[in-house]
Structures are given as C-alpha cells and as structure tokens.
C-alpha cells in the first residue's frame, strides 16, 4: 500500500496536477475520443490517483490508447487536466525496465510508404523511455 501511495504521489508530481480539484462531473470522459478503447476511463484515472489505486492504472490498457489530444484538458471545468495524469502514469511504466510499449524490432512491420516521420518520433516519445 505504501508503495502505491508513493506512486500516487509520483503521479501527482510528474503531472503537476491536483486530483482533488476534480468535482466528478465526467466531462473528460464525455469528451474522450478514445473512450471505447479504454478499460479505465479518464475520470477514473483522477479518482484512482485520489484513492492511491495506482497499480490498476499501470496495468491498464488505457495508457496506450490515450491520444494526448487534450480535449479533456481543454474542456475540464476544474482545470484538473486528466490527460496529464494519464501521461504521468504512462511515464511511470515506461521508465521502468521493460516497460516500453514499442520496441525497435516491431517497427518495420508497422511501416508503409506514406507514413510520416513525425508519427514514428511521436510514438517513440509516448511509448518508450
């Protein structure tokens, strides 16, 4: 539990977000374009950090589905910025050994003729240490 609490503190620190500002309106979840693919929804990320349930977040599929499109950040009425919390949780995972979601080996199979460089760079930044 104390490890979990530490991790929750780390998420707050890395994200710079105060999850207690949340009033639980669900606008982040309402506006999320990746909702259907997420097992833990954006508003739950905020409440999980509040309750220190970080392990569930670290194991969540949602980490790799969030688009960083900032719709939740822009529309949150409480300036909680759920997108930053998701990113911080993702950071905690990729910064651990073996936490990368993308490896160099799998890239060639994913490429096509038109694929712009920025796609690779961005995915690298988000998915890899």
């Amino acid at each position: 539990m104390s490890h979990q609490n530490n991790q929750a503190e780390m998420i707050k620190e890395i994200s710079g977000v105060n999850p207690y500002k949340c009033m639980k309106c669900g606008k982040c979840t309402a506006t999320c374009p990746a909702f259907d693919e997420m097992d833990i929804k954006p508003h739950q990320f905020v409440s999980y950090v509040q309750s220190g349930n970080v392990q569930a977040l670290a194991e969540s599929k949602s980490l790799w589905k969030c688009l960083s499109c900032f719709a939740c950040v822009e529309r949150c009425p409480r300036d909680v910025q759920p997108g930053r919390i998701i990113d911080a949780a993702r950071q905690i995972v990729v910064r651990q050994r073996g936490g990368n979601y993308l490896t160099a080996d799998e890239i060639p199979a994913l490429l096509d003729e038109e694929l712009p460089q920025q796609l690779l760079v961005s995915a690298y930044r988000r998915y890899k240490r």
Binding site: M23, C25, K27, A30, K41, R75, R78
Partner: protein, 662 residues
C-alpha cells in the same frame, strides 16, 4: 497613567484550545498601567459583561482591553458594556486573538506569545486613549432603490408601506426585471406575470413611490442619513405626461429589425418600443441608435401618427439631484456570455439555447407565441437535452467558481412543463449534482423524475455536434453506468451560469460599497448582517449580493426594507467621534489637508490664537466633525504634524508599533 483592566475571552474552545489564556492573563499583569486581568469563557455573554462591570467599579478602571474575537464582531458590544458601567465607550480596545491568532495558528506556545503581543499593543494604545463624545447627524427620510426588478419593487413597497418616500431608479424602460421574462415559477408553477404584474401596478400607484425608468445613478456623495444622488433620466423622446400608451407608434414604426432585449434577441422590436405589453410605465422609448429619424433625419412616422402629440425628438437627458437617508442596491443579474463554451455549439446552432431563452419560447407573449419549436426550422422537437452547470462551478478561466443555485430547480420545472404539455417529447437532463435545498424543492425535482418520466443522467456533456440533418449529436458521459452516451437531440438547453448585472461595479464604486472578485456585493457580515453593506446606509437586496431564487429574493428584499425603515425612523444618528482634529498651535494654514479630504470637511478660518502668550490672528484648518468620516488622509498630508485623528492618533499607532516590535 490609565488604570487598565484586561479581559481575556476563551470563546469556548475557539481561543482557549490554542492560546493559553491563563498565561496571557499572567503576562499582561506585568504591563504598565494594567491593574486588573482575568479570563472568562464567554466575555460577550451577560455574565462576562457583568465581570467587566464589576471590575470597572472595584478597580476604578479608566481603560479596558478585551482580548477576544475581531473588533468587527464585538467592539460595539463591549463599548456599550463599558458605557453601561459608567466608562466612556471609546476607552475600550480589542485585541483580536481569535481571527488573527487562535484560528490560524496550531502551536500553542507560538499562538500564546502572539496573543500576548497583540494584547500589549492594545494596552499601549488604550494607555493613550481619550474619552470621546459621539456627535449627531440628521436623517433624510427618503430612500433610494437602485434596480426595479422583483427585489427592488418589493423593497420599495415595504418601505413605502411603512410611510416613507422611496424612489426606484431602473435603467431599462420598464420595471419588472428578470422575473418579467419568466414564464412559470418553481416550485408551484404559477405564472410569473400573474404574481409580478400586480406588484408592479402597486408600486406604480403607491403614493410614496416614485419611479424613474430609463434612468441611471450617476453620482453619489454624502454618507448614511444624508446621501446626495444625481440621477440621469435619459431622454425618452416621448413626453410621458402626454402619452396615452395607445401603441400606434410602435405598430407604424418602419424600423423593426432591432433584436428585442426582452426576448433575449430571439425576436425583433421596433425602434420606438415598450419592452413588453405590461410595461410600467406604459410609455415607449425611442432607441436613437435604431431610429431612422435620428439616423437619417427622414421618417418622423411616429410623430405623425401620435394623436396625443407626445413624440419629442428634441428631448434631452435630465439630471435630477435628490437627497436620501438610505440606499438599497437591487441591481440583479444576467446570464453569462457563452462565447467561451462553444463545445456546446451555442454560437453554431440556433437550436442550442439558454434556459432564459427557453422561458421566452415557452411564454405565450414570446417569439413563438408559447409554442415549443426549434428556432432553426420551426419544427416541434421530439428529443430535448438539458445540460446543467454550464459556466457554473468552474475553476478554469472560462466560467464562474460558484454554484448559480437556481438552475437545478428551473431545469426540473422546464422538464416537467414540457412533459406535461407535450407528453410525446423525451426529456433528458445531464447533471453533476442535483441541488434542491428549500421547502418543497426536492419533492418538486423528484416529481419530475417519478411522475413526469424525465430522464436524469449523472454526467456532464462534453460536446454538442450539429449534424447535416439538422439534429444535434450530444456526446456525454453516464457516470453511474460508466458509459459514453451519444444521443441525437432536436434541441439542447444550457443551464447558463448567472452573474451580477453589468455596471454593478460602477455602482459599488460610487457607493464605496465592497464588492467581491465575482462582482457580488459584500455583506457586512455573512451570517449576522446579510442585507447590509459594510458601508453604513447602503443595503443589499436580491441577486446583487449572491445567487438566489424568487422566494429568497423577496425575503431579502423585505429584510433590507426593515433595515432601511429602522434607519429612517430615527431623527438623528450618532456619528463616529473618531474624526480629525487639528492642533491650532502647529497649523500653519497651508491648505494641503483640505485638498485630500474626500468629504470637503475641512475649511479655513482666521482665528486669534494664543501662542505662548503671543496673541495673533492666524489662518487655521477647521474640521467639520459632522462631515469628517475619519479616514486620516489629512493627518499624513499635514506637513507640520498639526492634524491628528482621534481614536487612531499618531502616538497611539506608534505605541502599537513599539509594542509589537519590542
């Protein structure tokens, strides 16, 4: 040297839990002049005051320090107490060891040390206090009410019924305010006009009430009991004494394309207009921005058709100067602009409307004659979505941090009325919390759910996307089912946050009344003096003080009226004796003090002085203590140190500084 008694209050545990009151008593007894010190559970109680009285008699006290709550709370109480036991009330000083000490510190040693220092400062000050006598000032037995909505009307009626004259100043062409725009009212569903119009008629016909519509307060001077106010009566371009209110001018006016303010821009009005049929006074106004005669010089139709000859294009603004004993602010509210909330597509679709616009649509006198229809194509909606908390409870920079308080109830009302009149229409309400405290309020909301089948979903709407087929795709969350909802609606109604009316800041500045960061006027005490402004003689009525519904507004309007009546019933008011006083031997008559005095209380006169045996005529500053409000600006400006402020003298304040820095 004074004989000082120090009284340390426990305030139950409010002070005693953090400040070692016994220690404070022990320490203050060491201070010069202190001949008595004691502590007690509640100094402000009858028993506590009796202790003070006993000590005044037994110890022959000449000054008192009470270590307790803020002087803004109980200074008056302890002054009265001293007076009752034969001590001049201005020989009392308060050391604020609650708000400024025990409530904000946790460490007992630290808090006790600070309490002792605050007590020392108060002792040092009271050592230099001198008995003061309050003066008297007169009371003009007439009240001014700024704003002619339900708050202003009710306040004016109550004051007038008590026998005092009241003027209402309303900036629009008619009294009635927001309430006149509403269709039905919660929680009884009676028709707004049916309960408001009789009150408007009462006010207009009341012998003690005088109404200035299309008018604004322009300048305020003076103080409680004796305000002088300039009112700008804007040119109506219609002679109210001749107009019969027949309405022909409005009918014939060729300029009919101005959005109607009364209908929230959903319909148009003519350039010469009354805002609504039951307007009071029933005298139209020419909107000079829209009028062809004023814009091009041609037209003049209204003048031709007016049989009473009431049209007067040459009419000028008029300034009326009037004296008042009390002023009530009842300036009301407006809904916020939704430009910052375009995710709800308010600016993109005519079928996304505010709740106040829905009131107009549902009203028989409104732009759709009371038919529920889409403004884009006139079709009857089958699916209506209500969105709560639009711009309320926002801590970002787009909205307001507070709850607008009325939206949960009026949304339940709208939902119920629609389901009642159009049972085939589906109504969905997206809410964050349903807040319905109030008599019969929660029952009302529950009826909407249980009896009228209104679908309440807990979750906010994220986006409203207009579709090519004219419908609106509402994307929202359902937090209880942990789902994202995408539903088509024909109409979306936004429960838009309310904010104090534009211009209230300007009025607050004129009245020197406090205003908060949200532009709500501040009350003198949030619990115990909710209808008084901290500025004496200025009272608050309605939403200008904070969000409230009609029953609360009417209650507060009555309360404000009672306060005004209490003031006007007095023939004289005691004035604050803490006024400026020049030392005639030091004054050189330079004139600087008069320049900085905001009240014109300082004049100069040539008087004979006896300066250590030399008698000569000198030009000297003279303070009119009835006008002086005791700010102290003159004392600092005076180059020779002749001007001082009684009760806050240079020596007293320096003694406080010394005691703190010791």
């Amino acid at each position: 040297m004074q004989r000082i008694g120090v009284f340390v209050c426990h305030c139950g545990s409010n002070i005693a839990a953090t400040v070692d009151v016994k220690k404070v008593v022990e320490m203050v007894l060491l201070e010069p002049g202190v001949v008595h010190a004691e502590d007690y559970q509640y100094m402000c109680s009858e028993a506590g005051q009796a202790k003070i009285g006993a000590a005044i008699a037994d110890k022959k006290l000449t000054g008192i320090v009470v270590c307790s709550c803020s002087p803004r709370m109980h200074e008056a109480t302890f002054r009265k107490c001293a007076e009752r036991y034969g001590l001049n009330p201005y020989m009392v000083e308060i050391a604020n060891i609650r708000e400024h000490c025990s409530w904000i510190h946790k460490d007992m040693q630290e808090a006790t040390e600070k309490a002792v220092i605050l007590a020392r400062a108060a002792i040092a000050k009271v050592n230099l206090n001198a008995p003061l006598q309050a003066g008297e000032s007169r009371v003009t037995k007439r009240a001014l009410v700024i704003g002619g909505g339900i708050a202003g009307i009710q306040t004016a009626l109550d004051i007038a019924d008590a026998g005092y004259e009241v003027d209402i100043v309303e900036k629009t062409p008619s009294i009635g305010g927001r309430m006149s725009q509403l269709d039905k009212t919660f929680p009884t569903l009676d028709c707004s006009a049916c309960i408001l119009t009789p009150k408007m008629v009462d006010a207009a016909g009341h012998p003690n009430i005088n109404i200035y519509t299309y008018s604004e307060v322009e300048k305020v001077s003076g103080f409680v009991g004796d305000f002088t106010v300039d009112i700008r009566k804007k040119a109506r371009s219609v002679d109210a004494t001749k107009c019969t209110g027949c309405g022909v001018c409005q009918e014939k006016c060729p300029s009919k394309k101005t959005p109607s303010e009364f209908n929230r821009g959903l319909g148009n009005r003519s350039a010469i207009y009354t805002p609504f049929a039951q307007a009071i006074p029933n005298v139209p106004v020419i909107d000079r921005e829209a009028c062809l005669k004023f814009k091009t010089g041609k037209c003049g139709v209204c003048e031709k058709v007016c049989q009473a000859g009431a049209i007067d294009y040459a009419q000028q603004d008029e300034i009326i100067t009037e004296k008042y004993g009390a002023i009530v602010v009842a300036t009301g509210f407006d809904t916020i602009k939704l430009d910052q909330y375009d995710e709800y597509a308010y600016n993109q679709s005519k079928d996304v409307i505010t709740s106040l616009e829905l009131e107009r649509i549902m009203n028989a006198a409104g732009p759709t004659k009371g038919h529920l229809e889409r403004l884009s194509d006139g079709k009857a909606p089958k699916e209506i979505v209500f969105v709560q908390c639009v711009g309320s409870r926002c801590s970002d920079d787009r909205g307001k941090p507070y709850c607008s308080k009325i939206c949960c109830m009026y949304t339940a009302k709208h939902a119920m009325l629609i389901r009642d009149k159009y049972p085939d229409v589906n109504v969905t309400v997206f809410y964050i919390d349903v807040r319905t405290p109030g008599k019969n309020f929660d029952e009302f909301y529950r009826r909407a759910v249980e009896e009228y089948g209104v679908n309440y979903i807990k979750g906010q709407v994220g986006k409203v996307a207009p579709q090519p087929d004219g419908s609106l795709l509402v994307q929202a969350s359902d937090l209880l089912d942990n789902k994202q909802i995408k539903m088509k609606a024909d109409m979306v109604v936004l429960a838009t946050a309310i904010e104090p009316n534009q211009g209230v800041r300007n009025i607050a500045t004129m009245l020197t009344a406090s205003i908060d960061t949200n532009n709500f006027l501040t009350e003198a005490h949030p619990k115990l003096r909710p209808v008084e402004s901290p500025t004496a003689g200025v009272f608050l009525s309605g939403v200008c003080q904070g969000p409230k519904d009609i029953p609360e507004t009417v209650a507060q309007a009555g309360a404000a009226a009672v306060k005004v009546i209490g003031l006007l019933a007095k023939d004289k008011l005691t004035t604050n004796p803490c006024t400026a006083k020049p030392d005639e031997l030091l004054c050189n008559g330079c004139g600087n003090c008069a320049k900085v005095c905001p009240y014109g209380a300082i004049t100069y006169e040539v008087r004979q002085v006896n300066d250590h045996g030399i008698r000569e005529d000198r030009r000297l500053a003279n303070v009119n203590s009835a006008l002086c409000q005791g700010c102290g600006a003159c004392t600092v400006t005076c180059p020779s140190g002749a001007m001082d402020l009684q009760g806050f003298s240079n020596r007293q304040l320096i003694a406080e500084v010394d005691a703190i820095c010791r």
